[in-house]
């Protein structure tokens, strides 16, 4: 999996690409936490347009990002989730904690 990050005016955008599973999650989290420490963003957009697969490891990663953002008074949300990741997000009930938007068809 690849994580591309960009920062603009208080908003950090993390573009996740490829497949997110337990094997990929810990390295991804280390990279993401470093980026968040560097920028201390107000908002964090988790853009899943390029994410073709995610299991519950992705839920743990999103919860962790959301918690890190909350620690500094910021917030995180998910955008452009494709079908399979969206089904996992729905099954987990994570949309009760943060906003999740599906990819446009």
């Amino acid at each position: 999996m690849k994580v591309l990050s960009s920062y603009d005016n208080g908003r950090l955008t993390l573009r996740l690409q490829g497949e997110l599973d337990h094997h990929e999650a810990s390295a991804a989290l280390r990279r993401i936490s470093r980026t968040m420490d560097d920028y201390l963003p107000r908002d964090c957009v988790i853009d899943m347009e390029g994410l073709t697969f995610m299991d519950s490891s992705g839920i743990a990663l999103i919860l962790k990002i959301s918690r890190l953002m909350a620690e500094t008074g910021g917030r995180a949300w998910v955008e452009n989730a494709r079908r399979q990741p969206l089904r996992v997000l729905d099954a987990s009930g994570i949309d009760r904690l943060l906003q999740v938007t599906a990819a446009k068809k």
């Binding site: 094997h23 810990s26 697969f53 519950s56 962790k64 079908r83 089904r87 987990s92 009930g93």
Partner: protein, 145 residues
């Protein structure tokens, strides 16, 4: 239920094998002509079961994980993931949503996702003897739907 086809795989409990297990399961399931959504569900459920074995069964070693897939009469796909690891002392508790003995990189949602993506889920475990997870999903062909 009569068995029409099967595969058996064994690999060490190393996380690099998670993506291989998903891909192998999807390739085997393709003979049932599943929809994209069904295929995604199968890949997800396999990923959860195999990850559980890798994270929990063998804390200090990369012991063997076995995966068997079968096509059963009536267009049922059965997936069994088995380890010979330390076992789960309380299966009922382990299956509760958000319950996890893993680190904060685990969500505790694995069994919840397996249960909601597959039609049947059975977990058997004995301490120090291992765990087996058996899941079934009916793949109705478009013609028979």
């Amino acid at each position: 239920m009569k068995q029409r086809n099967y595969i058996k795989l064994e690999f060490p409990a190393r996380s690099v094998n998670e993506s291989f297990a998903r891909a192998a399961a999807a390739a085997f399931a393709a003979q049932l002509d599943p929809t994209m959504e069904q295929l995604g569900d199968i890949r997800t459920a396999v990923s959860e079961a195999v990850t559980n074995a890798i994270v929990h069964a063998y804390p200090d070693t990369a012991g063997p994980v076995q995966m068997r897939l079968r096509v059963l009469e009536g267009d049922w796909l059965e997936i069994m993931v088995r380890d010979r690891g330390r076992g789960i002392p309380d299966v009922k508790k382990a299956m509760e949503p958000m319950y996890s003995t893993g680190g904060d990189d685990r969500s505790g949602m694995g069994f919840t996702i397996m249960a909601s993506f597959m039609d049947e889920l059975h977990v058997r475990s004995a301490v120090d003897r291992g765990t087996s997870v058996t899941m079934k999903k009916r793949i109705r062909t478009k013609a028979g739907a």
